[in-house]
Symmetry: C2
């Protein structure tokens, strides 16, 4: 990138996966803003099948850290948000739409966290069967509610510069 980035591009490229947190509060007002950003994402036929479980209790955070590989950061995070999809609410009850809608919402939420000066990291749950089952048990999720990912959120203990993993080889023109 040789030319200066527009501010919005710098913002998007500035969202990095933050895996270390310092102690400190994330307010309920901030959590509300994260969720408002998440639910501003597009959704197939506006079915909005996303569901969010906001977790602040330490024992639940510790249990999540145990059941997710690379989930250790949850022990120092201020909170976790488990993003789920309701398969009954998804367009045509299609898992594909559920995953697409939830993932767009997650990206919005991660960007909003960055915008609020928070750090966040996306920890995968779906399609791992064991993680799905244990997350379902831990949170008491109904059958129709599919956990997609767990987001660790807190005050960042690391800073990372904006970056893209842009690869020209990933881009084709007109045809493959």
């Amino acid at each position: 990138m040789d030319t200066p980035l527009p501010e919005s591009l710098r913002f998007i490229l500035g969202r990095r996966s933050i895996r270390a947190f310092v102690p400190g509060e994330v307010s309920d007002a901030q959590v509300l803003q994260l969720l408002q950003a998440a639910m501003a994402a597009p959704s197939a036929v506006a079915r909005d099948p996303w569901r969010f479980v906001v977790i602040r209790r330490r024992p639940t955070m510790e249990a999540l850290a145990q059941l997710l590989s690379n989930g250790d950061m949850l022990k120092s995070a201020a909170l976790a948000i488990v993003v789920c999809g309701d398969i009954e609410a998804a367009h045509d009850r299609q898992l594909s739409y559920l995953l697409q809608d939830c993932s767009a919402a997650i990206e919005n939420l991660l960007l909003a966290a960055h915008g609020l000066g928070l750090g966040a990291c996306w920890l995968g749950v779906h399609p791992r069967e064991e993680r799905t089952r244990k997350t379902r048990e831990l949170l008491g999720l109904p059958e129709a509610i599919l956990p997609v990912a767990c987001l660790a959120i807190g005050l960042p203990a690391e800073t990372k510069p904006p970056r893209t993993r842009y690869q020209p080889a990933a881009v084709h023109y007109e045809t493959w």
Copy 2:
């Protein structure tokens, strides 16, 4: 929303689906920035399975408009970007990760378009079998390349205010 939004939140909530375009150019430099934003999204195990087909030729745009329901806007869009995933590149060759990664990249791309003053709309392809097959044929996609969505991009002929579809009922605390 009673309190003023932080600028980054206003930016995220300001990304709206734009379905009408006025004639005008989207430069190659802008397209590059859209793709840089897309490829700044998180990806499971950083496998970056996303692939992008950038389409400016009118006959191809018209063909896409034909094969996608609600794709009429492509006739007036400056370009289309068909976002695909390479199942061979996806983490554990899992369709779920392919869809999650591509959807996060799509949301970044749509936000970048908004940031550049462009309009854009997400048109679904996966999991519709006929759309997938016809898109595959039109673009000559190899077997491993799965078209996920087609993005119509152009100069907006409509303006929409920032908004969220936030629903308190979609949020749970600690447990379901």
